[in-house]
């Protein structure tokens, strides 16, 4: 179990996360939903250790979470110049001797012997995803994994994530695409202005969707009136 306790993070005077408390259980897919700037990426960066919190902690199996516990796929991943996809995966999967790169690549059919810089945005995303799988960590954090990915690969990703639940990993996903989240998640945390506003269980997802649509409608109705 991954437990986020009273996490507070700020950039200068800007408080991005305020007293966040969350529990992520294994064998489940947890969604984090929020508009741009709500604090999703900051939350992930802090759990992973890129950002130091002002207060609070992230505990995994009753100890502070470590890098080696997490496979983190950032919104935009870094790839070295003049490096092939195969080299990237071999580097990330070095500790995981059983990882069959060719078999995994059958899923996305990437040109692994080509330089990554020649890949499209979606291909880079898929490569980064296989890379995270290659690391074989107990916690998976995926920040916007569906961005730039084509429909077919999007579906493959969703089905794969559903299957991954049985491996007892803790899977945490942030996405703007609510349909993708409601389909695979067991629980969705709504992050608003740096606080967890509500946590929705699977049975409550229709309520979440309705609430979100209604609140957005309320916000833009007046504006749309003047525009169209």
């Amino acid at each position: 179990m991954l437990e986020i306790k009273n996490l507070a993070v700020s950039y200068g005077t800007n408080e991005v996360l305020k007293d966040v408390h969350l529990i992520f259980e294994p064998g489940m897919v947890h969604g984090v939903l929020g508009i741009n700037g709500a604090g999703k990426s900051t939350l992930f960066n802090t759990i992973y250790g890129f950002k130091k919190p002002n207060a609070g902690s992230a505990q995994f199996q009753n100890r502070t979470v470590q890098n080696g516990d997490i496979g983190f796929m950032e919104t935009s991943c870094y790839f070295y110049p003049l490096m092939t996809g195969m080299e990237y995966l071999k580097l990330l999967g070095i500790q995981n001797k059983d990882f069959d790169i060719k078999k995994w690549n059958e899923l996305f059919e990437l040109p692994l012997n080509e330089y990554v810089e020649n890949y499209s945005t979606g291909m880079k995303k898929k490569l980064a995803f296989i890379g995270v799988m290659a690391m074989n960590r107990p916690i998976l954090i995926l920040d916007e994994p569906f961005n730039g990915v084509d429909i077919e690969s999007n579906e493959k990703l969703l089905q794969l994530l559903i299957r991954l639940k049985s491996t007892n990993k803790i899977i945490i996903i942030a996405s703007h695409i609510i349909e993708s989240l409601t389909r695979i998640c067991d629980r969705i945390n709504l992050l608003e202005n740096g606080v967890i506003k509500t946590t929705f269980e699977k049975t409550e997802f229709p309520v979440l969707e309705k609430e979100l649509k209604d609140s957005i409608k309320l916000k833009i109705d007046d504006v749309l009136e003047g525009l169209v």
Binding site: Y78, P81, L82, L91, I94
Partner: protein, 314 residues
């Protein structure tokens, strides 16, 4: 193979691949030029004490370490990062150490190799300069000079501070030259990002895109530098040719950066990928007698830039 070995293996491969990208004929030119430069530096360095080599090594590695873009990626590898950095930087410094040993300079070679050690205790890629720069209003700069806006946002304080310091110290004969070298070093910062294709399409239709871009930027940069040339002439009239050399060198630097940018341009790619030729250009420009090579590079990349843009937009 463990993670560090695989990582170093990848870095060595990258080096040889970049050599392949440059092409063998140009690589040979680069080797001749840089070998000459390296030996020139080594002859100079052979006169200094070993401890100075540790400082050079420290600052060189610090400039790499604190600006690394792969720090997040490296964190995801299951490996001790200080050990990985030690291995990588040692490998990076090795050629110079070998040359020093070849020259019989054992102590400076050891200092050179060990000088970077204190860096290893610091986290990589942490240098964030100009945090305040986005708050400086640069809206007055027309969008066709967006490169200048971009460069200023990145190094505003360094450039403005040095501009006025250099102006204040123009009574010293080396000031203009040093400031000129600084500008040559930071020029790539201005031109490394590609604009969206819509911006090019708008200007490309007017004809002579590259030439207009070059002339416009030469005018802006050189008008801004005019007070420096005038002060130099005021204090060192008899050395006018040095001022002229700075003027010509900066003109060549500006032209090269523009043509190299558009020679490497690809739509939908945000940033220039490789900057290996900028180092070659700078080396050839600064080594006496090699300026012809830098002019050759400008001609070569000018043609390439014109053809490249014509391919996408003609």
């Amino acid at each position: 193979m463990n993670t560090i070995e695989r990582f170093l293996n990848l870095r060595i491969k990258q080096f040889f691949r970049s050599v392949q990208e440059i092409g063998i004929p140009l690589f040979i030119i680069l080797m001749i030029v840089t070998t000459g430069l390296t030996f020139k530096v080594l002859v100079f360095l052979s006169e200094v004490q070993g401890v100075e080599m540790a400082f050079f090594s420290f600052f060189l590695i610090a400039s790499i370490h604190f600006t690394r873009k792969d720090s997040h990626f490296l964190k995801s590898l299951d490996v001790s990062r200080p050990l990985l950095f030690l291995a990588e930087y040692s490998l990076f410094l090795l050629p110079v150490s070998m040359l020093l040993l070849f020259l019989g300079k054992m102590v400076p070679a050891i200092y050179w190799q060990l000088g970077m050690l204190p860096i290893l205790i610091f986290p990589a890629g942490k240098l964030k300069i100009n945090k305040i720069a986005p708050f400086i209003n640069l809206d007055g700069i027309p969008s066709k000079y967006f490169e200048i806006k971009l460069g200023f946002r990145r190094i505003f304080f360094a450039i403005v501070l040095l501009y006025f310091i250099a102006l204040g110290y123009s009574f010293f004969i080396g000031t203009l030259i040093l400031f000129g070298i600084f500008l040559l070093l930071v020029l790539p910062t201005f031109f490394e990002n590609f604009e969206p294709k819509e911006m090019i399409v708008l200007e490309y239709g007017k004809g002579n895109f590259v030439r207009r871009k070059v002339i416009n930027h030469l005018l802006v940069f050189q008008i801004a530098l005019m007070p420096h040339y005038l002060m130099f002439l005021f204090y060192h009239k008899e050395m006018w040719y040095l001022g002229l050399a700075c003027f010509v060198g900066l003109c060549l630097g500006i032209i090269f950066n523009i043509v190299y940018k558009y020679a490497s341009y690809r739509p939908n790619v945000p940033k220039m990928f490789s900057n290996s030729f900028q180092a070659v250009f700078l080396a050839t420009l600064l080594i006496p007698g090699f300026v012809i090579v830098s002019i050759g590079l400008i001609i070569y990349f000018w043609r390439k830039a014109t053809n490249n843009l014509a391919y996408y937009y003609a």
